[in-house]
Symmetry: C2
């Protein structure tokens, strides 16, 4: 007997029929003798419907009140799933985040979980009852309803698994695991039987958004065994297990996957004085305007001046460029240039720590296709390049092939 | 400065535009220097939508889970109203029933309020904040969500007014007060500036369903000053005040109003032995089948047998008749007859206690129109007759005229 936390997203519970299917899957695990805690999201489309309704009343809805409102989406789903399980003959009880004491801070619409009191859930589990918990929500110390932000249901699942010391946290989604890259771009993409926590972090933040990044961080912090599976396959198989142990890197493929992000824009400030504080002078006003910055590049200087580049989301391009043009004379730079059609393509792999050849393989593969690299950034387990967006699919395909990700991987277990 | 509890029903908050209008009305009272607690229902249609969704998953939805689900309807409205008030520049906070500690028993879908903790609301009110509370819902001692049953938002409003010792509880609805009868049947019907608690009880249960009967009982028990007003008129005026003091009956009109109920059916068991226990033998199986019985008539016996009649809702007619036909031989009756098209028409008035002539005026007026009376029941402040349904409108009109309800009432204040 194991204690399993399962999480089903909005698409998996999008209709009464799908909720009944989820109930059947949960029932199969219960039938196998396991204890189950099930976390669900709002039915797909519901959260957006509620937000649109709020905006009809208040152009920029009050965050506390918005949380009171959107939290109802999950509250409907938990009740429906409990009903579906009861209809199959199982004992099931639904709880809001507040009811199972998921305590968060009071940062409405993006709250962070601080504590979970498991007593009530344990008592139900010991009483042979399937516990169903609303994802994405909690309660602050003042008893106000909070939400964890978009995708927060994953975080709820992982946090419950951590608090309950569950044997496994299973995230059911519309894909059957983590792939070497997006199969829509590279049909030969393969499902990874395992992926390390660090790789997953890099993949998630780079656009392969299978799991919300915060939930992965949470899983890493509390060593929760996290598995991604398909909620639409009759037999979802093993999915992808996210591991935390440092496995022998000789056994690991050097590169695990190719991630990408299409919607970037590059801004360069040329000829800025190469002196302390200049990076802050450039990026401070950008951050103040709530523009998120992704890649940042600064190379060596010539004659006391240097060029400073960074990327932002394409939607923020004009805004960020205008800010810099305004502060250009204050910074002492020569000019601001930019390009709104940059894509970022990254190779990710825990194995590359000990393999120096990854970068050269990557750059050669791109060069052979005549793809010009505009920017390069690296981390310990990732190399990212900024390229013209029109080459993105091509770059992903050649890199996927160059690192032999289309070949069968060895079983690692 | 007064402390006012206002309640707005589903139609009054049926669209974002209407919610903004409610906010403007609340703001006017706040502007006038009052403290406000506002109770709202779910947007019209929302509760039915949720119940239908539940039934798609479980034919007969689990009551606990149904409450988790339908309580979200009000939760959406409270947030929207808080947003609308903030948009007008007022401080406003929304609370679910559980959050302001509306403690109920655990009779899911029809819970009764046991206690309300006012501390949190008081603190907000003292802080110049408009408090918005979800109607229709509470929390049982185990922390489970409960609902008070259909129309329970009125009860929430009255209960909050009682707990907060509010100066007045204003129920805003789609009519502008309690009328002498339904203006759709008698265009000359007049709004009553005041109506007594007892009259209101009789009116509510007889089909003039302006207020939920439980809320009126609650108001009577705790002496809450209750006022019914229109939520759709720009200036709702004074509405109708429901009074509890025994006013000098000389000042009161003898009859306050004509109530009616269209959907009744009559069942008669003829020739039953006139002996103790027979009424129970007849009605016991009917009650066991969850059929509500309204009027019950038994007259004196002849030769040791009597006729026993009662009315049920028309939808239950076939069911009730079948039950009695089955138990007829056991009861020892001669036959079961019935009629599915009965209407009940009642004259109601606290003043009739001291006026013997009401019954004769009523019966004469009906006789003059050739309307046959099939059944008669009376209480201290009400006389009801069962008549053929096709005469109902006519009966209401002639009685309204016979008791001069179309004449201007004297101001009572």
């Amino acid at each position: 007997m194991a204690l399993i936390v399962q999480k089903y997203g909005g698409t998996s519970v999008g209709t009464p029929e799908r909720i009944k299917n989820v109930a059947k899957r949960v029932a199969r695990f219960k039938q196998a003798g396991h204890q189950l805690v099930v976390v669900v999201s709002a039915m797909s489309g519901e959260t957006n419907r509620l937000i649109a309704l709020a905006k009809e009343v208040q152009a920029s809805p009050d965050p506390r009140e918005l949380d009171v409102m959107v939290s109802t989406g999950e509250q409907v789903t938990i009740a429906l799933l409990a009903m579906a399980l009861q209809d199959l003959g199982y004992k099931a009880k639904s709880y809001t985040g507040g009811q199972v004491c998921i305590r968060t801070d009071d940062a409405y619409t993006k709250a962070r979980i601080e504590h979970i009191d498991t007593e009530r859930m344990r008592s139900d589990l010991d009483n042979d009852t399937i516990v169903i918990v609303a994802g994405f929500q909690g309660m602050d110390p003042g008893g106000n309803i909070t939400t964890l932000g978009r995708g927060g249901s994953d975080t709820t699942g992982v946090a419950l698994a951590a608090a309950l010391k569950a044997d496994e946290c299973q995230i059911y989604t519309d894909v059957d695991g983590v792939y070497t890259t997006d199969p829509r771009i590279v049909p030969e993409a393969k499902r990874l039987p395992t992926v390390t926590f660090e790789e997953m972090l890099e993949m998630a933040s780079l656009g392969s958004k299978v799991l919300q990044i915060r939930s992965v961080e949470f899983a890493g912090k509390y060593k929760v065994k996290l598995r991604v599976l398909s909620s639409f396959m009759d037999d979802p198989g093993e999915g992808t297990l996210i591991t935390f142990e440092e496995e022998d890197s000789m056994e690991k493929p050097i590169v695990s996957g190719i991630a990408f992000n299409r919607d970037e824009a590059k801004i360069t400030v040329r000829g800025v004085p190469d002196k302390p504080g200049i990076a802050f002078q450039i990026l401070g006003p950008v951050a103040d305007a709530n523009v998120d910055v992704d890649m940042i590049i600064q190379n060596i200087s010539h004659d006391g001046t240097t060029d400073f580049s960074f990327t932002v989301h394409r939607n923020d391009f004009q805004k960020a460029k205008a800010i810099l043009e305004e502060s250009l004379s204050h910074i002492g730079g020569a000019s601001v240039t930019g390009s709104a059609d940059i894509a970022k393509v990254s190779v990710v792999g825990i194995g590359m720590r000990s393999h120096a050849g990854v970068a050269s393989t990557m750059f050669r593969a791109l060069a052979e296709e005549g793809i010009n690299i505009q920017m390069i950034t690296t981390s310990e387990i990732k190399i990212s390049v900024g390229i013209d967006e029109k080459y993105m699919e091509l770059a992903v395909r050649v890199l996927h092939k160059a690192f032999e990700l289309d070949k069968e991987t060895q079983p690692l277990a």
